[in-house]
Symmetry: C2
Subunit: 201 residues, 2 copies
Amino acid sequence: MIKLYDYLPSGNGYKVRLLLTQLDLPFERIELDIVKGETRTPEFLAKFPNGRIPAVEFEDGRRLFESNAILWYFAEGTSMLPADPFARARALQWLFFEQYSHEPFIAVARFLAMYPKLADDRRAGLARIMKLGYDALGVMEAHLSPREWFSDGKYSIADIALYAYTHVAGEGGYDLEAYPAVRAWLERVSSQPKYIPITRV
Amino acid sequence: MIKLYDYLPSGNGYKVRLLLTQLDLPFERIELDIVKGETRTPEFLAKFPNGRIPAVEFEDGRRLFESNAILWYFAEGTSMLPADPFARARALQWLFFEQYSHEPFIAVARFLAMYPKLADDRRAGLARIMKLGYDALGVMEAHLSPREWFSDGKYSIADIALYAYTHVAGEGGYDLEAYPAVRAWLERVSSQPKYIPITRV
């Protein structure tokens, strides 16, 4: 069975849990507490040198890390990833947008709010983090205003990747009031068959 | 012809210039000065809502942004991207590693050094930026020590993506002395046929 190294509050982990559940792919979840450094042990780093979850390990020993690369691998050949080359590139565009322009702000604001007593150098830059997170929400709002989904007119891993931290952006202090297209899209995602909430497995 | 919106000092732009050159795909380069805000004009944002280069526009009006998604699109079906599904996922893993754990530190340190008088909130966090950039170099060194390339035993877009800012890491104050496998790999990349330097087009 697929082993998923995971951390339940993580939106990046949730992406993989949600996709595997929606694809009916069974997996064993191994919970690691990132705040306690459980992804930075010599044993974990020997398998996954970047020291982050989610990470997957197959029965034959093959391993893969980076949440969006994992989504891509499992979505290949399913309805969750388009077949057309340009539509695929556009799905990938949104996956990179999520990791570069969205997650480092919207997920980080939530993380800092979840652990208010944790020393973290990023706390001093919170105003910039909040601003750039709102910029990402603005890009999403503009894209979704005339559309239902991020890629190719249907629900795909581009939606899963962006949904993961957007739907809990409020936990980091973001107000989605001014983003009606984003809010409607969040509802569409959470209405998909076999949907699971972020902290239920 | 393909239009590439670009900024010559950008490693992200260089990735696309290098790949298109190595694939013999002709392109027209449109230089935009990111420091002067030329990627944040209403005209550019109407085409590319994230306001970043590189971005490509095709003759039929289709558009694509995010450097690594652009690499993936053009590399598909060539020797620069493996055919095996798992090898592809691993190449993608390194592309995401580059954008999440490498570029935000190694490229940003270089940017801040290139424009020492530019007001930038990130300057206060430079010590953390330098540390995390070295962490990324450590992950690369560990991967490359027993290997020649990032993905599937041969030169691919995973190498182009990681090469772009690693080979100019010194401009941001990084010392690669302790990373001999990385230095040997930089030499291998720059010895590839049809290689072009970062600021020559």
